[in-house]
C-alpha cells in the first residue's frame, strides 16, 4: 500500500515532465500552427496505454488522444508481429487506430528500463501539410476517402533501435509541401519526446519501478474517484439533446447537409453513459466523419470534465485516464461519430466541437448552473501560394464564442470547448506572409440576447497581397448557437469573398480555390446563445453594452426592453413598461 505523500510527489514530477516536453516542443517548432496557435500535445502514457499526465500548454484535442495513439500503435505492431525496442521512435497518424485525424501526427518513444518497457512519452502536433490533394491540412473538404487526405502512417518506426530510418524521412520530404517547416516540426517532436523519456526514466530510477507504478495506479484511482463523486451528485436519469451541423450546405445531396448530432446522457449511480445513437449516418465520401477514438471520445470527456469538474470551481485536477473510467460512450457503427474505414475524417474538427456542444446541451438539463448556452463553432482557413523560395502555407484558426452562463456573460471571441488554440499576431502574419489583416474586432451587429448574453463573435478581414489559394473548413453558418432557459439563440457565422467589386458568400466548407492579389476575405464569427430571459438582464449591463458600442439603442429596447435616452441614461419608466408588456 503506497502512502499518499509519495503519490502526490510522483504525480507532481510527472506533470513537470509533461510540461517540459510541451514547453520545448512549442519553442523548437517552426510553423505557426504549433508555436503560435499551440495546436500540439505532449504527455506520458504507461506501459498499458493509460494516460498519466499531459502538458498544460497544449490544446485538449491534441493531448487528450495521446493514450489512444499509443494503444492504436501497439495493436498495429502486434498485428504485424513487430515489437518495440530501446531506441525506437514510432510515427503514427491512423485515424482508425487512435489518431485524432491525419494531420495530427504522433511521435511515440517507448521507454525502457533495461529490457523492460516501462512507459511511453509522446507528442502530437497539427502539421501544416501532410501531402493531401491540395495545399495545407485543413479545408481538404473534398477528400473522398482516407487515401485522399494525405500520407497515412500506421506505426512507422522513424528510428529503429536508435538508427534513423532515412527512407521514411526521404518520403516525408518528397511528399509534403513546405517540407522544411513540417520536417523541422517533426524533428522537434521527436526531440521533445526523447527529453521526456530521459526524464521519465530518471524519475522511475529514483523511486523504483514498483513504487512508481503503485503511485501511478493510485493517481488513476484518485481521479476516477473524483469523477465518480461528481457523477454521484447528479440525479439518476436520462437526458437527450440534438443539434444540427451545416455539413455541405451547397450540396445537392440531402445526405450531406443539415446533419443531426444526437447525444443522450444517462446517469446511473456513479456511472455516466453517453449514447450518440440518432446521429446522422456517416458521409462516405466527404471528410466530416469523426474518428470514434481520438475525436469523439475526447469531445465527450472534455465536456463532461469541464462541466462537472470545472477548473474554476475545483482548481487543478490531474488529467489522466482515471477521469474517463466512469464514462462510457456508445455510437452505432457507420454514423458520423463512428465511421467505417476508409470514410474520410480529415475535416472532423467542427463536427467534433459541435458534438461537445450537444453533450453540454444534454447536461444543461441536469446541471443548468454549470453550463453555458450554445457555443459558436470555429473555422480554419489555409492560405497558400508560391514564392521564389517555394510553396508557403499558413493556417489560421478563427475563434468562436461561448454562450451566456449563470451569473456571467459568455466569453467573447475565443476558441470553444475542445479547441483552445491561439491566434497569430497581425504583426507576425504581415511580417512573414503575403497577407494583410485589415480588421480584427468584435461584432457590433448582433447579440445572443439573454439575462446573461452570449459572447460576441469576431470580425476579421484578410487581404491577399499575392495570388494564391485558400481552403476553408468550419461550421455554424446556418444553424445558430442555442439559447438556454429563455435566452435567445445566438448568431451564425458568415464568410464573404470580396474580389474586385464582386462580393460573394461562401459556405462553411469550401475546398481549395485560387484567389487573386487584392482578394479579401471578410470572416464573421458566431455569437454564442443567450442564457435566461433577456428581459431579466440588468438594465445597467445593457447600458454598458450600448456605451461600449456593442449594441444599438434600438436593439437594447427591442431585444432587452431597456429604453435609453440619447445621453444613454436608463429611462426607468419606459423600461418598466416595455418589460411589462412581455
Amino acid at each position: 500500500m503506497i502512502d499518499p505523500v509519495t503519490v502526490s510527489v510522483i504525480h507532481g514530477a510527472l506533470e513537470t515532465i509533461a510540461v517540459e516536453m510541451g514547453y520545448k516542443l512549442m519553442r523548437m517548432a517552426h510553423s505557426s500552427i504549433i508555436r503560435e496557435s499551440e495546436d500540439f500535445g505532449a504527455g506520458i502514457v504507461d506501459r498499458h496505454g493509460r494516460g498519466l499526465a499531459e502538458s498544460a500548454q497544449s490544446t485538449p484535442l491534441q493531448s487528450g488522444p495521446l493514450p489512444g495513439y499509443v494503444r492504436g500503435m501497439l495493436r498495429q505492431l502486434e498485428a504485424r508481429g513487430d515489437t518495440l525496442h530501446p531506441g525506437d521512435v514510432v510515427m503514427h497518424n491512423d485515424a482508425y487506430a487512435g489518431a485524432s485525424h491525419g494531420p495530427d501526427v504522433g511521435f511515440i518513444v517507448p521507454v525502457f528500463m533495461g529490457d523492460n518497457l516501462v512507459g511511453f512519452t509522446a507528442t502530437t502536433a497539427h502539421h501544416l501539410d501532410i501531402g493531401a490533394l491540395t495545399p495545407g491540412s485543413c479545408g481538404i473538404v473534398d477528400a473522398i476517402d482516407a487515401y485522399a487526405e494525405g500520407l497515412q502512417f500506421k506505426a512507422i518506426k522513424v528510428f529503429d533501435r536508435g538508427v534513423r530510418n532515412d527512407a521514411v524521412w526521404h518520403i516525408l520530404r518528397d511528399n509534403i509541401r513546405a517540407s522544411d517547416l513540417v520536417v523541422g516540426d517533426m524533428e522537434a517532436q521527436v526531440a521533445a519526446a526523447r527529453i521526456g523519456a530521459d526524464r521519465l526514466l530518471d524519475l522511475i530510477r529514483r523511486y523504483g519501478l514498483e513504487t512508481f507504478e503503485a503511485a501511478c495506479d493510485a493517481s488513476l484511482d484518485y481521479t476516477e474517484k473524483l469523477m465518480r463523486l461528481a457523477i454521484t451528485a447528479l440525479p439518476d436519469g436520462t437526458w437527450s439533446a440534438e443539434t444540427t451541423i451545416d455539413g455541405f450546405t451547397d450540396s445537392d445531396d440531402p445526405a450531406r447537409r443539415d446533419l443531426k448530432i444526437v447525444a443522450t446522457v444517462t446517469v446511473a449511480g456513479d456511472q455516466l453513459l453517453v449514447d450518440l445513437t440518432g446521429t446522422a449516418p456517416q458521409v462516405p465520401d466527404r471528410p466530416i466523419n469523426m474518428p470514434f477514438v481520438g475525436t469523439v471520445d475526447i469531445a465527450v470527456w472534455l465536456t463532461i470534465r469541464s462541466i462537472l469538474l470545472d477548473t474554476a470551481e475545483h482548481g487543478h485536477i490531474p488529467v489522466n485516464e482515471g477521469l474517463t473510467r466512469p464514462i462510457s460512450i456508445v455510437a452505432p457503427k457507420g454514423c458520423l461519430a463512428n465511421p467505417i474505414f476508409p470514410a474520410p475524417t480529415i475535416a472532423r474538427f467542427a463536427p467534433g466541437n459541435q458534438l461537445a456542444d450537444t453533450v453540454m446541451k444534454a447536461l444543461a438539463q441536469v446541471v443548468p448552473h454549470q453550463v453555458s448556452a450554445g457555443i459558436g463553432n470555429l473555422r480554419v482557413m489555409a492560405f497558400s501560394g508560391d514564392t521564389a523560395e517555394g510553396p508557403w502555407v499558413h493556417m489560421e484558426i478563427f475563434e468562436g464564442s461561448y454562450g451566456g452562463r449563470d451569473g456571467a456573460d459568455g466569453m467573447d471571441a475565443v476558441d470553444t470547448l475542445y479547441a483552445n488554440t491561439r491566434n497569430n499576431p497581425v504583426e507576425d502574419i504581415e511580417s512573414h506572409l503575403p497577407l494583410r489583416v485589415r480588421r480584427y474586432e468584435l461584432r457590433e451587429d448582433a447579440v445572443g440576447a439573454g439575462r446573461w448574453r452570449g459572447g460576441q463573435g469576431s470580425v476579421r478581414e484578410f487581404e491577399m497581397l499575392a495570388d494564391g489559394g485558400v481552403s476553408i473548413e468550419g461550421d455554424g453558418h446556418k444553424h445558430r448557437p442555442w439559447g438556454f432557459d429563455g435566452g435567445a439563440d445566438g448568431h451564425a457565422a458568415t464568410l464573404y469573398l470580396q474580389s474586385g467589386n464582386e462580393r460573394r458568400e461562401l459556405p462553411s466548407k469550401s475546398p481549395y480555390r485560387r484567389v487573386k492579389r487584392g482578394d479579401t476575405f471578410l470572416c464573421i464569427g458566431p455569437c454564442g446563445g443567450g442564457y435566461g430571459p433577456p428581459f431579466l438582464r440588468a438594465p445597467e449591463a445593457v447600458r454598458a453594452d450600448v456605451a461600449d458600442g456593442l449594441l444599438s439603442r434600438a436593439d437594447a429596447a427591442a431585444a432587452f426592453g431597456v429604453v435609453l435616452t440619447e445621453a444613454l441614461a436608463i429611462d426607468d419608466a419606459a423600461t418598466a413598461s416595455a418589460r411589462a408588456r412581455i
Binding site: 502512502d3 499518499p4 505523500v5 502526490s8 510527489v9 507532481g12 514530477a13 513537470t16 517540459e20 514547453y23 520545448k24 512549442m26 517548432a29 505557426s32 508555436r35 499551440e38 490544446t59 485538449p60 522544411d180 517547416l181 524533428e187 522537434a188 526523447r194 529514483r206 484518485y222 481521479t223 474517484k225 463523486l229 472534455l302 470534465r305 469541464s306 470545472d310 477548473t311 474554476a312 453540454m360 454549470q370 475563434e399 461561448y402 466569453m411 467573447d412 471571441a413 475565443v414 476558441d415 483552445n420 491561439r422 491566434n423 499576431p425 497581425v426 504583426e427 507576425d428 504581415e430 511580417s431 485589415r438 480588421r439 480584427y440 474586432e441 468584435l442 469576431s458 456605451a547 461600449d548
Partner: protein, 692 residues
C-alpha cells in the same frame, strides 16, 4: 556615501542603512501602512536615522522597492484609462490571443475581458496604417481624428491615454505625433505610447503593456511625486532611486513615465540581495530561494549574471507584459500553505494559504487548518519560544491538534503526517527549481541554494537534498534580503528594436545602424536623467531564433564594429544556446534575428560587505536542546537537537547537524548528516552529503 534602502512589503517595511565609507550597516523593520505606504517609510527612516545617529539631511541616496504598481494591477485599482488605436483594431486588448486561460472550465473568467485595462467605450480608433516594411506608410495619420478622440476621452474623464498603433515598433512616428496632439488637447492626462513602453512585435502583448502603463501611470506618478515631497520636507535632498523588475535602478522621473517597469520591483531586489550574499563568499552559480507566508520566489544567477526572462514569458495577474524582468518564478508555497485531503483522498498542500490572518494554527489567531508552519512546529524545527527572536509565542498545542486531525484522515502518525506536509511542499518547490534549471540544460548540482525570506532557511536543506544541490547559503539578514539587494546594483536603461533580419540575407550595415540609433536614444535618456554619461557602459544583445520558430533565445552581441564576421559569431552562439536550452540544434537552418537590445549601466555606489559577526563558542551559542524529528534511511527518528544563536556561533568552524540555528528574522534547519558553518563574511553555510 550614506544610503538608505527601503523595501515595502505587504506586512513589513524593511530598511537598511549603509555608509559605504565606514562600512557600517544597520537594519530596521516597521509595519507597512497600506493606505499610504510613504507614511510607514518616513517613520521607518526617522527611527533608523535616530538608531544610527545620523541626520536625515546627510543621506545621499534613498533606494526603494515598491509594490504600488503591482498592487494597482492585482487589486484592479488603476485609473479610468483611454486608448487611441488603429482603425479596425479596437478590440486587440479584448480578444487577446483568443485563448482561454483554462482548458477545462465553462465558468472561468478571462481577466482582460472581465477586468479590461481600458474599457471598450474608451478605446477609440483613428485612420492610420503602417506595415511590416518600416519605410511604408499605407495610410497617413488622421490628425483631426486624433484630436477628436483626445477631446472625447478627456470629456469622458479618463486620467490616462495609451496610443497604440500597429507596427509602431518599426516606425514610431505616428504614435509620437498622436501623443503630441493628445498632450495638446488633453492637458494633465498621463500619455504613453506602445513604442515607448515596449517597441517589440505582437500587438496584443505590446498594447496590453502600454495600456497597463496608462492604467497605473497616474497613481504611480502621484506616489513618486509625493514621496519626493516627503523626503524634501524632512530636509533630504537625496536622489530617489527605484528598483526596476530587471534588477536595475531607475530615477524617479523615469518611473513616473514608465511605472510598468516596476511590477517585480520587490522580488527583483530579493534576487539581487541573495546573489550579493552569494558573491560575498565567491559563489557565482546561485539559485535564490525566497519563501514567505504564501509564496516562494525562485531566481537563477549563472556565472554571476542574472537571468532575464524571455519576452514571451513575462506577465502579471494573467496579463502579458513586454518589459525586461528578471526570470523570477513564483509558486504558491509558503509557511501559511494549507495541507488538506480532498474529497477523493488526495493529499495536497497549497496553493491556498492561511495568510497572516488567521494564519497558521500555531499563530493562535484562530487558524484551524493545518499549515506548513504547524508541521514545522510539530516536528520541532520551529521553536515555540524563539519564533522571530521570541517576539511571537507559537501555540504548540494548537499546531499539534490540527496536524493530529490531518494525521487521522491520512491514517498516519502525527509526525509522519507533519513530515508528509513538508515533503509535499518541498517537492513542489523542488519541481519548480527543476523547471528553471534541468529544463534549461542547467545541472542544479552545480549551484548553491541561497535560502532567505522568513521560511527559506527552514526548507533550504531539504529542497537542496531533493535536487542534489551540495550547499545551502543563508544570508546575514535573511528577512530583509530585498532591502539589502537595493544597495547592490547600478542604474540601468534599456531599449529594444524588432528587426526580423534573416541570416541568409542579412545586412550587417543596417544592423549597425539600428544599434547606433538605440545608442543615441539611450545616451539621451542618461543625459536627461542627469547621470554622467562617461561612466556608463553599454551591453548589446539580440533575440534570435530559427526562421519559422516563434520563441527567441537571447545571445550577447560583442562590442565593436558590426561586421559579417561578428554576425557569424552571433549565429554560432545562438546554435550553442539552442542546443543547451533544448538539447537540440539545427545548424543547417536559416536563423532570424528578431530583436536587438541595448542596455546602459551607470554605476551606483554599493554595499561592500557586512561587518564580521561577533562569533563565540559552541557552548556559548547553545540556547537549549529539544527533540526534533528527521527522516533517516531507517524512517522517522527523533533527535535531541541543539538550538544555537546564530550570532554567537564560532566563526569559520565546521559543525555537525542536526541543529537548529536561531536568529530574529528566521530559523535555519540543519538536518542530521549535514554540517554547517558560520562564515566570517556573514553568511551561514549548510553542506549536505547528498545523493538525490
Amino acid at each position: 556615501m550614506k544610503m538608505i534602502g527601503i523595501d515595502v512589503g505587504g506586512t513589513f517595511t524593511d530598511l537598511v542603512y549603509a555608509d559605504t565609507d565606514s562600512g557600517a550597516v544597520t537594519i530596521h523593520k516597521v509595519s507597512t501602512t497600506p493606505a499610504d505606504p510613504s507614511r510607514g517609510m518616513m517613520t521607518g527612516m526617522e527611527e533608523l536615522a535616530a538608531k544610527v545617529g545620523v541626520n536625515l539631511s546627510e543621506i545621499d541616496t534613498v533606494l526603494h522597492a515598491t509594490t504600488i504598481a503591482t498592487n494597482a494591477v492585482l487589486e484592479n485599482t488603476g485609473c479610468e484609462a483611454g486608448m487611441i488605436t488603429t482603425e479596425g483594431f479596437r478590440d486587440v486588448l479584448h480578444i487577446g490571443r483568443h485563448q482561454r486561460p483554462q482548458h477545462y472550465s465553462i465558468r472561468q473568467e478571462i481577466p482582460w475581458q472581465s477586468k479590461p485595462l481600458v474599457k471598450r467605450r474608451h478605446r477609440l480608433t483613428v485612420r492610420e496604417r503602417l506595415t511590416s516594411d518600416r519605410h511604408t506608410v499605407l495610410e497617413p495619420l488622421d490628425e483631426d481624428g486624433v484630436r477628436a478622440a483626445a477631446r472625447a476621452l478627456k470629456a469622458a474623464g479618463v486620467e490616462a491615454i495609451a496610443v497604440c498603433f500597429l507596427f509602431s515598433y518599426l516606425n514610431p512616428t505616428h504614435e509620437r505625433r498622436a501623443a503630441a496632439i493628445v498632450r495638446d488637447e488633453a492637458a494633465g492626462v498621463f500619455v504613453t505610447t506602445s513604442s515607448d513602453v515596449a517597441p517589440q512585435f505582437r500587438e496584443f502583448e505590446r498594447f496590453t503593456t502600454a495600456a497597463m502603463n496608462a492604467f497605473i501611470g497616474p497613481k504611480v506618478r502621484r506616489y513618486v511625486a509625493r514621496l519626493d515631497e516627503e523626503l524634501r520636507a524632512r530636509g533630504l535632498d537625496a536622489d530617489l532611486r527605484i528598483m526596476r523588475s530587471n534588477g536595475g535602478l531607475a530615477t524617479a522621473a523615469l518611473i513616473g513615465e514608465l511605472p510598468v517597469l516596476t511590477l517585480l520591483s520587490g522580488p527583483a531586489a530579493g534576487v539581487l540581495g541573495g546573489a550579493w550574499s552569494g558573491a560575498l563568499s565567491g559563489r557565482r552559480n546561485l539559485i535564490t530561494f525566497d519563501i514567505g507566508g504564501t509564496s516562494a520566489d525562485i531566481g537563477i544567477v549563472r556565472d554571476g549574471v542574472f537571468v532575464e526572462a524571455a519576452a514571451r514569458d513575462t506577465s502579471i495577474a494573467g496579463y502579458p507584459v513586454l518589459v525586461p524582468m528578471l526570470d523570477i518564478h513564483t509558486i504558491g508555497a509558503g509557511g501559511g500553505s494549507i495541507a488538506f485531503v480532498d474529497a477523493a483522498g488526495a493529499f495536497r498542500v497549497g496553493p491556498r494559504s492561511a495568510g497572516a490572518v488567521p494564519g497558521p494554527a500555531a499563530y493562535g489567531r484562530g487558524g484551524t487548518l493545518p499549515t506548513v508552519t504547524d508541521a514545522n512546529l510539530v516536528l520541532g524545527r520551529l521553536d515555540a519560544g524563539n519564533f522571530l527572536g521570541g517576539a511571537m509565542k507559537l501555540d504548540a498545542e494548537a499546531a499539534a491538534s490540527v496536524i493530529g486531525d490531518l494525521a487521522k484522515t491520512l491514517k498516519l502518525t502525527p509526525e509522519a503526517a507533519a513530515e508528509g506536509v513538508l515533503k509535499v511542499i518541498n517537492a513542489n518547490m523542488a519541481n519548480a527549481i527543476r523547471s528553471r534549471t534541468v529544463e534549461k540544460g542547467l545541472d542544479p548540482r552545480d549551484f548553491c541554494l541561497v535560502a532567505f525570506g522568513g521560511a527559506g532557511p527552514l526548507h533550504g536543506a531539504d529542497v537542496a537534498a531533493m535536487l542534489g544541490i551540495p550547499e545551502v547559503l543563508v544570508p546575514p539578514a535573511p528577512g530583509i534580503c530585498s532591502a539589502m539587494g537595493l544597495m547592490t546594483t547600478d542604474l540601468k536603461y534599456d531599449t529594444v528594436r524588432t528587426v526580423f533580419a534573416r541570416s541568409d540575407r542579412l545586412d550587417s550595415a543596417e544592423l549597425a545602424d539600428d544599434f547606433a540609433g538605440m545608442l543615441a536614444d539611450l545616451e539621451a535618456q542618461v543625459v536627461a536623467d542627469g547621470i554622467d554619461l562617461a561612466a556608463a557602459t553599454f551591453l548589446r544583445a539580440a533575440d534570435v531564433r530559427y526562421f519559422g520558430q516563434g520563441y527567441e533565445l537571447r545571445v550577447e552581441v560583442p562590442d565593436g564594429r558590426l561586421s559579417d564576421g561578428m554576425v557569424d559569431g552571433i549565429l554560432a552562439s545562438f546554435h550553442a544556446r539552442h542546443a543547451a536550452e533544448y538539447g537540440h540544434a539545427f545548424p543547417e537552418k536559416p536563423v532570424e534575428i528578431v530583436n536587438v537590445r541595448l542596455t546602459a549601466t551607470a554605476p551606483h555606489p554599493k554595499l561592500e560587505g557586512v561587518p564580521t559577526p561577533p562569533g563565540g563558542t559552541l557552548d556559548g551559542a547553545l540556547v537549549h536542546r529539544a527533540p526534533c524529528v528527521f527522516r533517516t534511511p531507517d524512517g522517522l527518528r527523533t533527535f535531541d537537537t541543539p538550538r544555537y544563536a546564530r550570532d554567537r556561533l564560532p566563526l569559520d568552524t565546521t559543525l555537525p547537524g542536526p541543529a537548529i540555528v536561531l536568529q530574529t528574522d528566521t530559523t535555519t534547519v540543519v538536518p542530521p548528516g549535514a554540517t554547517f558553518l558560520s562564515g566570517s563574511d556573514g553568511n551561514l553555510f549548510i553542506r549536505l552529503g547528498v545523493s538525490p
